[in-house]
Symmetry: C2
Subunit: 352 residues, 2 copies
C-alpha cells in the first residue's frame, strides 16, 4: 500500500474531500428526477446505508426546479450532475446544491465554463470536472481516440479555465469502462494537479461484473495512494453501490464501518452448512458499528487459528461448532444452536 | 500495471503454471469427498465453467482411496489438498494426482516433507507450499504472530527442505483473510524465490464480501505483476469462484474468455429498464467465445460514445433504443424489441 497522495481539501457542504479527510462514498439516484416522492425516498435510503454525498441527474428545467426541495430535505449534501445545458447548472447553484459536476466533453465551450466558475465561486460551491471516456470532446476523440492522454488533456483544459477565474475548489474524475485505461489516466493526472480525485470505473456493468471490475479498479487505485472520494457504478439499485464501496474501503483498512465477517470457502472437510451460517451471521452483524472481527470457519485446519485471532468465531466440527471469544473456547454447541450461541456472545461483546 | 514477475514454469499435468503461461484459474470441490457421485459431478461442473485445475480435500483414507477414480474421470488436472497426515499424500501420489498441496504449519516436520519431496520427484509431481495465516507453525505464531514476515519464513523453510532434496517443482501461496497482510506477504516473497505464485485471499467470506475482498486483493497483486495462478475463495458454490476469477483476469486484460458487457449505472436520465436488459444481455453472451464488447447504455450522455466504441451497443432513449454495430447506427427499435434486435445483430457478428 502506497502512502495516500497529498491533495488539496475541498468542502462539499459539511463533507470534506481530499487532504487527510476520510475517503468518502458517493452514489447517484436513478429515480425519475421529476418525481419528488421517489427521488426523496431514494435519497433517504442511500443516506441511511452510508452514502455520504448523493448526486442527481438534472436533465431538464423541471428536474432543476425540484432541486430546492431535495436540498431542503436531504440528510447529506447533494451534487447536481449537468450535461449539455450550463443554464441548468445555474439553476442548481441557485437551488443550493453543494457541488456541481460538469462534463468537459459536452458542457459547451469556454464561455459557459467561465460563467459557471464565477457563479460557483460567489457561492463557494466546488465543481467536479467529470471526464468520461465515452463522451470526450469531439476533436480530442478524433485526434487521440479514447486514450488516457486524451482524458487527462480534457480534464487539464477545464482545470485551466477554472483556474483562470481564480477558481480552485476543484475535484476531478477520469472514468472509463476499461480498468487499465482508467488506472493509467488517474496515475498520469495524479502528478499534475493538487486537486482531490473522485475515482470509479464507469459503466462497470451488472451487479456481478460491475462489482468485480469496480473492486479491481478502485482497489488498485487506492493501493497506489490515489482516490479521495469514490463512486461505484453498478447497473441497478444504487444502495448496492454504497455497500460495495464500503466493503472495498474496509477491506484495505482505509475506513472502518463496523464488524467484518470472514468465512472459509468450505471444502470436502466441512461437515456443517457453512454458507447458510455465514450469510446469517453477516445479517446479524449489520447493525454493529464496533470494528469486530467474526470468523465463521468450517473445520479444524484454519478454523481454530482464525477463530482465535477474531473477536468471536466458530470452527465447525462433525455436526457441531466450537465457539471462540477473544481467543478462548467458550462453548461447544450442536449445529442447530450455533447461530443463537453466536448471537448471545455478540451481545456480550457489544452490550446491546 | 507492472510487468509480470518472471518465474520458473512448473507443469501440473498438462497445465503450465508460471513463466509466460497464462494465469490459470483454480477452484476446490466442497462436496463430501467420500461421495464419488457428488464429487465427480462437481469436478465436471467446475471444468465446464472454465476451472483449469481442481483441488480436492483429502481428509482421510476413504477420501484418498477415491482419488484414483476422480483422476481417471476428471477433464482437468487434480490437486490433492493434504493436512496433518503426510501418508495421505503418499496415497494421493500413488493415485496419480497432478499436484500436492501441503501446509507447512501442520504437515508434521522435516522428515515427512523430505519423504514427500522424494516421492513427488520420482513421479515429477509438483508441490504447492500453501501457507495460511490461520495455521502457521506454533512456534512461529508465538514468536511473530500472524505477520507477513512469519508467513514468508514459514514458506521459505519448506522451500529449503524441498530444495535440499533437489526438488524445485514448487508453487507457493501465502494466504490470509486480511487483504493488506496478504499483499505484503506476497510482495516480500516475490523477490526471494524464483517459483510461481498461487494467489488468493483466504476465508474471504460470503459471495458479496468475498467477491469484493478477492477482487481487491487479487487485483492489486496482479497489477503489481504478482500471480501465476489464482483461486478465489468464496463461501458457497465454487462455480462462482471460477466466474469471479475469470472476470478479474478479463477486467485487467490478462486473459480473454469471451464477450464483455459494459452497462451504465442508470440515473435520472434513463427512460428504459436497463438493469433487466443488461442482465439479459449478459446471459445472452455467455456462450460467445469471441472477445466482443457489448455496451448497454441508458441515455445520450455516454451512450452513443460507448456504444460506438463497442462491437455492438444500444443507447436508450424515450422508450426506445438505438442499436449500434461496429460504430454505425444500424437500427432504432421500441424498448420491447431491444433484446431481440441485439440477439439478431450478435448472430451477424458471431455467425452462430
Amino acid at each position: 500500500m502506497e502512502t495516500r497522495r497529498k491533495s488539496k481539501q475541498v468542502l462539499v457542504g459539511n463533507v470534506p474531500i481530499g487532504g487527510d479527510s476520510p475517503i468518502t462514498i458517493q452514489s447517484m439516484t436513478n429515480t425519475d428526477p421529476h418525481s419528488r416522492e421517489h427521488t426523496l425516498a431514494q435519497i433517504n435510503e442511500l443516506a441511511q446505508v452510508g452514502c455520504e454525498l448523493i448526486r442527481l441527474a438534472v436533465p431538464d428545467q423541471e428536474a432543476a426546479n425540484n432541486l430546492k426541495t431535495f436540498v431542503a430535505a436531504s440528510p447529506v449534501p447533494l451534487v447536481a450532475d449537468i450535461h449539455f445545458d450550463y443554464q441548468l447548472a445555474l439553476i442548481a447553484l441557485e437551488a443550493g446544491v453543494a457541488k456541481l459536476r460538469i462534463n468537459p466533453g459536452n458542457i459547451g465551450g469556454k464561455d459557459k465554463v467561465k460563467i459557471l466558475a464565477r457563479e460557483a465561486k460567489a457561492r463557494r460551491i466546488p465543481i467536479r470536472i467529470g471526464v468520461n471516456a465515452g463522451s470526450l470532446e469531439k476533436e480530442l476523440l478524433e485526434r487521440e481516440g479514447p486514450t488516457a492522454a486524451a482524458m487527462v488533456e480534457s480534464a487539464l483544459r477545464h482545470v485551466r479555465l477554472l483556474e483562470d477565474e481564480d477558481f480552485t475548489e476543484i475535484v476531478i474524475s477520469l472514468k472509463a469502462s476499461n480498468v487499465p485505461l482508467t488506472i493509467e489516466a488517474y496515475r498520469v493526472l495524479a502528478t499534475q494537479v493538487p486537486y482531490p480525485l473522485h475515482i470509479g470505473i464507469t459503466e462497470a456493468g451488472t451487479w456481478f461484473t460491475g462489482t468485480i471490475r469496480s473492486s479491481v479498479g478502485v482497489g488498485i487505485l487506492l493501493a497506489s495512494g490515489i482516490g479521495d472520494t469514490l463512486r461505484i457504478s453498478l447497473t441497478g439499485d444504487p444502495v448496492r453501490e454504497v455497500r460495495v464501496g464500503r466493503e472495498i474501503l474496509q477491506s484495505l483498512g482505509l475506513r472502518q464501518f463496523g464488524a467484518s465477517v470472514i468465512s472459509c470457502p468450505t471444502c470436502g472437510r466441512c461437515r456443517i452448512d457453512l454458507a447458510k451460517l455465514a450469510e446469517a451471521v453477516e445479517q446479524l452483524v449489520l447493525p454493529i458499528s464496533l470494528p469486530l472481527k467474526i470468523a465463521v470457519m468450517g473445520c479444524a485446519v484454519n478454523g481454530p487459528g482464525e477463530a482465535r485471532e477474531a473477536d468471536l468465531g466458530v470452527a465447525g466440527g462433525q455436526g457441531e461448532g466450537l465457539i471462540f471469544r477473544k481467543g478462548l473456547v467458550v462453548r461447544k454447541v450442536p449445529e442447530a444452536e450455533i447461530l443463537t450461541a453466536l448471537q448471545e456472545e455478540l451481545q456480550k461483546l457489544t452490550h446491546i
